[in-house]
């Protein structure tokens, strides 16, 4: 069987950062609205900024969600499996010593 080597911190960090970026991209228009710049010239440019990639950013967000889910699942499942294994080994060790 092949070796398994996982940088769990990196996986967790990836999942978290992707979550932040997904929120930033998804709420881009709302962020501009909340900022309330109150200048028509810059406001127009910012409307272009948030509105000219609706379809493609939707695709991008979908891809980011997929990778985020994979990273998150990888992190939680590896961690959970390791914890369960440790618990079973602890129980086995306790049983043999008694």
């Amino acid at each position: 069987m092949a070796d398994i080597q996982v940088d769990l911190d990196m996986l967790q960090s990836t999942a978290n950062t992707l979550t932040t970026l997904i929120n930033d991209f998804s709420n881009a228009a709302q962020i501009v609205k909340d900022a309330d710049i109150n200048d028509p010239t810059i406001g127009g440019a910012l409307n272009n900024f948030t509105g000219d990639w609706k379809v493609r950013v939707g695709d991008l967000i979908s891809s980011m969600q997929t990778v985020q889910k994979m990273a998150n699942t990888g992190y939680t499942d590896y961690t959970s499996t390791d914890n369960q294994l440790a618990q079973q080994m602890q129980q086995a060790a306790s049983g043999s010593s008694s």
Binding site: I4, T14, D39, W53
Partner: protein, 473 residues
């Protein structure tokens, strides 16, 4: 010293010409810059994770992750540049816009004070005739007032100049920022295409057209009822009714072809489904029967994106696509020749309206279509046969489209044989059935489809269905 925004900009302006919240501008700029940094960091991490030589994630699951992470790293890097540019532009604009606002506020204050001074020192009315001459004290007061008035006038003029310069500076800074953002967006690969940006209203437009066609078709059907037809003939409107029916047929076909091209393009950019396109093609083939079934029965277009994405994601390699295109072209050419031979050998069966594909033009197809349609209209029995065959074709297209969704072009291609067989039956129906018309309309649609950038695989799919020998039926 900070100048606060005046409640009124009179006498220099009727409203605030420098309205931006520069703190918000700075804050948003910093937020965008932070997002750009996060994107860069994330792209680097994803590249590291997806690097096969990396020890970050070595396992079978890691291998699956690599395929997705690598592609994503490239795509989010494209988004980084737009955030970097916007963040820098907003941050750079905030300070000069703030300074311009301060100058403008100060100028307004100066102008308002000058205005007050001028009002207070404005020359009074001329003394009435016969009134006593002014005293020395009154003369001195008048001279002081005149001097104050003059100074205030100068101050107001100076304030106006300062104000105008500040407003200019403000707008220059704002325009510089806006231009930088718009310039970046102009070359951004993540910017939606024209079709993507206008997809929604185009879809609504075609829905409305489809409803109009359905309504017109319903009227045409009522006119065609035996009793109604006799009645219309009786009052001398038979020719008008016939013209109306012809118009509905041509209009419906044109709308159907337009919808087909629209949906084909939608599939190519991930906004439509194979199923919708297949229904369109059946609709074109059956004078709207398939189209009607779709619009009455479902809102298929609305659940478009997922399956199309899968199909696009699983699409064959460029080499395979090229091979399909070549095969499709060859099959189409061969079947076209076969069709022409059949029409030549079976002139009676093909009917007066039949036309051959060779050297056909759109107007030629249209003329043939109209002639065939008129011939078909005179035979109820043949029309019934056409309807039955159309139903079979519709079923076959449904099967093909189900197979194509979530699969790939290879599946669509191989399964299109069923469609071809049933379309062959359509084409082989007796001379009064506008089978040739149907193929002609479909071919016209496919000419449009084939001309659309990036979706020649759809042409391959469709040509397999259309480019068949009439003898197949």
């Amino acid at each position: 010293m900070t100048n606060t925004m005046p409640a009124s900009f009179e006498p220099l302006a009727s409203s605030n010409p420098v309205p931006a919240d520069t703190d918000a501008l700075t804050s948003l700029g910093q937020q965008y810059t932070a997002t750009a940094n996060e994107i860069e960091q994330q792209a680097n991490t994803l590249q590291q994770l997806s690097n096969n030589s990396s020890d970050s994630w070595k396992s079978k699951a890691g291998s699956v992750f690599v395929s997705k992470a690598s592609s994503l790293a490239t795509r989010i890097t494209q988004a980084q540049q737009r955030y970097t540019t916007a963040g820098a532009a907003l941050t750079a604009a905030a300070e000069p816009m703030y300074q311009a606002q301060q100058q403008a506020y100060a100028a307004v204050q100066q102008a308002q004070e000058a205005q007050s001074t001028m009002t207070a020192n404005a020359p009074g009315p001329a003394p009435a005739k016969g009134s006593p001459p002014p005293t020395a004290e009154q003369k001195a007061a008048a001279a002081t007032a005149a001097s104050n008035y003059s100074q205030a006038e100068d101050s107001l003029s100076q304030a106006r100049s300062t104000f105008n310069a500040a407003v200019d500076d403000y707008h220059t800074a704002a325009s510089t920022a806006a231009n930088a953002i718009n310039k970046e967006l102009g070359g951004d690969p993540l910017k939606d295409s024209w079709f993507q940006a206008h997809f929604q209203w185009l879809m609504n437009f075609f829905h409305i057209l489809a409803i109009i066609v359905m309504a017109l078709a319903a009227v045409a059907l009522m006119i065609a009822l035996p009793g109604v037809g006799a009645l219309i003939d009786g009052i001398g409107l038979g020719a008008l009714a016939g013209g109306f029916s012809t118009f509905v047929g041509v209009f419906g076909a044109a709308v159907g072809i337009g919808q087909t091209i629209f949906d084909a393009k939608a599939v190519s950019v991930g906004l439509g489904t194979w199923k919708t396109l297949a229904f369109d093609i059946v609709g074109d083939l059956t004078f709207g029967i398939g189209k009607g079934a779709e619009y009455l029965g479902s809102t298929i277009v609305k659940d478009a994106t997922g399956a199309a994405e899968k199909a696009a994601g699983d699409a064959a390699s460029q080499g395979a696509k090229d091979a399909f295109a070549d095969t499709a072209k060859n099959d189409y050419m061969a079947s076209r020749a076969g069709h022409n031979t059949w029409v030549a050998d079976n002139p009676d069966a093909a009917g007066d309206g039949a036309f051959v594909f060779a050297n056909t033009t759109y107007s030629g197809m249209k003329a043939g279509a109209q002639a065939a349609g008129e011939a078909a209209a005179s035979s109820g029995a043949a029309a019934a046969a056409a309807k039955a065959a159309a139903a079979a074709a519709s079923k076959a297209v449904g099967m093909v489209s189900e197979g194509a969704e979530g699969s790939n072009i290879v599946a669509a291609w191989s399964m299109s044989g069923d469609l071809a067989e049933d379309l062959g039956k359509l084409n082989a129906i007796g001379g009064l059935v506008p089978g040739v018309w149907k193929v002609g309309a479909g071919a016209t649609a496919l000419k449009g489809i084939a001309g659309i950038d990036g979706i020649f695989q759809l042409g391959a799919f469709g040509m397999a269905g259309y480019g068949i020998s009439p003898a197949a039926g």
